[in-house]
Amino acid sequence: MDTTTPARLSVRHLTKSFGQMVANQDISLDILAGELHCLLGENGAGKSTLSSCLYGLYQPDEGEIRIDGAPVDLNSPGDAIRAGIGMVHQHFVLVPTFTVLENIAVGTGSGLSLDRRSALRRIAVICEEYDIPLAPDRLAGDLSVGEQQWVEIVKALYTGARLLILDEPTAVLTPDESRKLFAVIRRLIDDGISVMLISHKMTEVMQSDRVSVLRKGRLVATVKTAEVTRDKLTAMMIGGQPPSAARAQRDTVGSGQVLSVRDLTLSRDGRPALGEVSFDLAAGEILGIAGVSGNGQDDIFECLAGLTTPDSGSIAIEGKALLHASPAEMAGRGVGYVPSDRFRDGLVSDLTIAENLTLGQQWSSRWRKGPLLDRTALDTNAETAIADYAIAAPGPSARCGKLSGGNAQKVILAREFAKARRILLCNQPTRGLDVGAVGFVHRELQRKRDEGCAILLASEELDDLFQLADRIMVMFRGRVMATLDTQAATYEQVGHLMAGQEKQAAAA
């Protein structure tokens, strides 16, 4: 990259604090015209705060932002849009009941009438120029996640963005969709548009021109991607050596079926959610479930945890049929359940760690002194868990809502691992966690498996499955596409199956 190219965006000494917490400290970086610039960092490193400052959602406490050399005050997203900045948010901001066209056009234009025809024309021009497939008349709610991503990108380009900020755009995409996304990004760059990509996936980061690494709110360095290695970047990001990611070799898969699921079928709101799902799970085995979120994973887990009753099919634990079991019965059979949304389904934010650790078992005599809760027993239990699981918290009486994602997850793991004498159900246990916490979850799952527990593990991160699972079951639209032996499976093959493409996968 020629250093004489004028910087599209210059950030100088930007600092932003929330109360005592400094989210961004003295950050200076340049994003050049026609550059793919990656912002790399762990969760909580300050990436989102920085991008929110650049999009006018937050106002920095100190520092300066310049666009094409001229200082700008970004007091609102409107200011950012006028400065030519567009943003695709990690959680899409679309109205499901609006058409694609309405989602793109709302809040733009002038006058009283909504000029559909000219909006349609402009959308067509953008889609053609960058080869984006989009049907303007479809309802946003009917689109796949990948298609919603296109809407978000066109939305930003529609307002004339010359700098596009993409906040973890591939977190929810299939490998195929993410390849297409990068093809579009390259076309944007060729056209002189700058792209700032926020990510912590190395395969994506390595495709950028330059990388700025953030750690604990500070800029570690901005480097040319061609001049660094993945390991170097990872070390910069976490400030030390990365935890070993090698798949632990082992020769024994325990014997004896623990869980047997046959023809599980479920419909929700009249739509099929699960179609004839069957699988077996043995003691000491990890069965991975791959799939883009919303393809039936949650439904399988809810059926197995006793939260939902399937329409038909059978579930048996050690030969005993349990189709209409309640969550309490399931827990009584030695089933632990780590739900995908930890703050919604896994914890009560306003309760303390000690209380959360006993949720669901508060009637057990272990936690009671007569009719009252035995606070001493609760606290002792919590102290043990905090020590065993290295939970970073002031003590047993800390409220779970104040914990970081990783520490909140550790509280759930501590509770559910204790319950899971036979079976552990883990739905997206590493979602949103940073590298260090992911390594911890991996080690704990391996330990639990080695103890002879049967583990069902769903994850959108294929790395999790390839590193941990003995077999990988791929889900698409509520059905099992295939179950593969991890040793023989490839990322590509799993990726195709996740997108519902049976034939290519069979050929691969």
Binding site: S76, V95, V106, S110, S113
Partner: protein, 312 residues
Amino acid sequence: MLDQLLQASILASIAAATIRIATPLLLAAIGELVAERSGVYNMGVEGMMLMGAFIGYLAAYESGSLWFGVFAAALTGGLMALVFAIMTITLKVEQIVTGLALNLLGAGLSNYWLRAAFAGEGKTPVIPHFSDVPIPGLSELPLVGPILFDQRVLTYLAFLLVPVVWFFLFRTRYGLIVRCAGENPKALDVKGVGVAPVQYAAVIFGGIMAGIGGAFLSVGSAARFVPDMTNGRGWLVIIIVIAGLWRPWPVLVATLAFSLLDALQLQIQGIGLDVPYQLLLMMPYVVAIVALAIRPSRGGAPATLGVPYLRE
């Protein structure tokens, strides 16, 4: 009894009464529809209508101008809505609780002011009320003419509002913005459109309409004010919006359905049927409960209705 009800003249009078009864409900319901479409649940409609009825009467009595009364009622409704908006949109106070507080305020203030203004007199003085304005030509039409085109100006206004608000919500740029505020306010915010001004405007429009709706009761038809004269109509308005699935035309249908029931019970009372009149009075409200119970769950409700918008 049925024979009596089915006479043409009686039917025509029921139909005309339906239209008249529908007027205040429709005015307030269309206003509430717009407010709820922007994501704000204004539960204070009853209080705003009641204050509109009282201030409308008071202003008309003092000034001698009915239209000044309507104007004052609109202003009152708008002001109460402004208070509601400051509480719920800016200060993020719970919308339902704030609405209930405004209802209590409306009931208390109108009663207190009534006693202060007309001390000693058991009844408020009767003032002239709006008269029917036949539309030349159309009112001559057989059967429908006298029913539809021999009504008060506010009635014409209420029915005209239905297509106007429909066009506004579904065909204009601003309507799209209002609906977006109710479905996903963040989608507006990231486009650089402030959410609060949109919701303020929608809520204040709703308050103005509730105020005018209230004024129709006092200066529009009764020609006087009696304590608690709205008598639950503001609550019925909220049910009408739900039963009307948050869309202008179904809201009109729901309004007419409830009004027809009310008109019927008046007529039946008039005939002097041997049914306790309390049972007849209950009819619209019983039907409202049934309508709520059988309607599709949350169908059509704006996705973030009642949820204050906070930027992360």
